[in-house]
Amino acid sequence: MDNPVKATPLEMAAIDVDGLTVAELGLVNKINLRGDFDSQACNAALTELLGMDCRLEANTYVSNSASTLFWLGPNERMLYTDGDPQSVAERWRAAPGTAAVDVSDYSTVLRLSGAKTRDVIASGSPFDVHPQHFGVGQCTQTRFGNASVLLSNHADTPVFQMQVRWSFARYAFDYIKRVADYV
């Protein structure tokens, strides 16, 4: 099979206004992992696969230089990896009772930073992003406007990431652009 054309839904669109910088992260390899993450075998396999301690509390993520692992549910994780998604998925499938799906092109990731970041997100989401409630190392799936998103907090400055479905990417981006003018 020929190599498919690699593209992102927003074609790397960006926003740079006073207090808010938004950038599309580009091609991020995303793998949806399923498994019994409470089990010893599963955890050992994941630790070996990613080279870090992968036990996660609900609504948190861990990362190292090559990977970021997000909690999506008790038996579901989202993995961003710099490695080849197919080979990572295959290695995960080798562990008992697991499944892996390459969902790289299912969604895109926006990186939001600047002083207005929290206000912009709060304008479209019912989730409380106050630093006391949503600190660095936490992630959550919630609603932004009418789009389901995976939000994560990466720095106190603040730096947030918003993973949004391909078909909702333009909607979420325009929403952010619109509210950035008046929050």
Partner: protein, 98 residues
């Protein structure tokens, strides 16, 4: 606007959830022996109480897990939310006037 407790994610806004009707309706096992009337009973008929009601809820915009909740259908009071496999929390003995 009210807050619903997801047993997996914690307290979240109601707009992240959807309700999917009465909970604890077992799927029939001996389906070949069932009459049309029994099928109708299973598929269509619900208790529809005015008062406390055990319901299936889905955390659509969150962890996308199903859970059950005990809700008052008049006051919208959420007494408890619990995982599918958890024991059923008792119905409060206050006639819904909490």
């Amino acid at each position: 606007m009210f807050i619903i407790n997801c047993p997996y994610c914690g307290d979240r806004d109601q707009t992240e959830f959807s309700c999917h009707g009465e909970a604890h309706i077992p799927r029939p096992t001996e389906t070949k022996k069932m009459t049309d009337e029994e099928w109708g009973e299973y598929v269509f008929f619900r208790t529809n109480p005015k008062g406390y009601h055990r319901e299936r809820w889905l955390h659509d915009h969150g962890c996308r897990r199903w859970f059950n909740a005990l809700r008052h259908t008049v006051t919208d009071e959420f007494v408890a939310s619990y995982k599918i496999e958890d024991p059923r929390p008792p119905i409060p003995d206050n006639g819904g006037q909490s």
